[in-house]
Symmetry: C2
Subunit: 170 residues, 2 copies
DNA sequence: GGTGAAATTTAATTGAC
DNA sequence: GTCAATTAAATTTCACC
């Protein structure tokens, strides 16, 4: 395993809070030179600790106000690759986790409203040889990165829900 | 609700893939001027669609190779605020989702190994008036942002599992 | 491993149209 | 929305501790 010291963790923490922090900003915060900070970020990317940068999006503001986790169960004969494929084929699926034991997979979905959620679950059930599902509807969430909480409920009335069957925005 | 057009969605898709894409890079991709792209990004931040930028980290490379979801159950009398607080107090907890129905919360944890996981679960059980837990151990995961899958077991990048799902939701 | 400074390149920003 | 000028930042390259 790579040797990561306290300063590296500090760099990662600063970038987790704001992935667009400049080197000079971080250098001032940490108490190192700009060149030293850049060398550390470069190294963290090289050894694969930093795999990239991304944007944080408020999906509720995009009309995707509902968030859910669906547990999927498959027959013992279903290969993992097929489980992943059937889930990732559904555009509303944001993340797929394959699980040891029961259930076999946990998928994170974002949808416009509850009828849309119903459609997505139906599609998942039909897609593979799914033997059972259980869906956990998210009411609110908290993330360590930002330390901020969101309330899903207030996001449900953000606008006209598309008709069932309309394709989700991208 | 804010009006988000196709180009805005294109900008968001590009930034989800790489949050450090430059305006000129995106301008070329989209077919607009640099200034026009910047104006859109500024607006998306102003109206709160873009809430920030962050770094993607391979936690396995930091020695936090084990990922799990724990379902928590509480007595009906426990207020939601307390549920969130008891979970966020545990540093290994990355995300907390409050759930409609059963269970009451789903929490995403990252730990070094299985005995560490055991400790975290024990701490969660003691922290509040938790009446029950069920932990789903993650073997592998896939994220739409990157379209790449990771295998928790070997902590190495297995690359895309096939070619599904990469197409953005429409 | 780190510093500091100068030169270069590249990107971000602003204002006129 | 474009385009051009300006400002700011990232990057490279030194010599050095």
């Amino acid at each position: 395993m790579a040797e990561i010291d306290e300063i590296d963790h500090q760099v990662l923490r600063l970038l987790r809070e704001d992935g667009r922090r400049t080197f000079s900003e971080m250098a001032a915060e940490i108490g190192l030179s700009v060149a030293a900070v850049k060398r550390r970020v470069d190294r963290l990317r090289e050894i694969g600790v930093i795999t990239g940068f991304t944007v944080r999006v408020d999906y509720a503001k995009l009309g995707w106000g509902i968030e859910a986790f669906t547990e999927l169960r498959y027959p013992g004969t279903t290969p993992v690759a097929k489980i992943i494929r059937t889930a990732t084929d559904v555009p509303e699926v944001q993340e797929v986790f394959t699980i040891a034991g029961d259930p076999d997979a946990l998928i994170h979905v974002r949808v416009r409203d509850l009828s849309h959620l119903q459609q997505v679950i139906d599609r998942l059930r039909r897609a593979g040889d799914v033997t059972g599902t259980k869906t956990l509807l998210v009411l609110g969430s908290w993330t360590r990165d930002t330390g901020s909480a969101t309330d899903t409920r207030s996001a449900t009335d953000t606008g006209p829900a598309g008709e069932p069957g309309r394709r989700p925005p991208r």
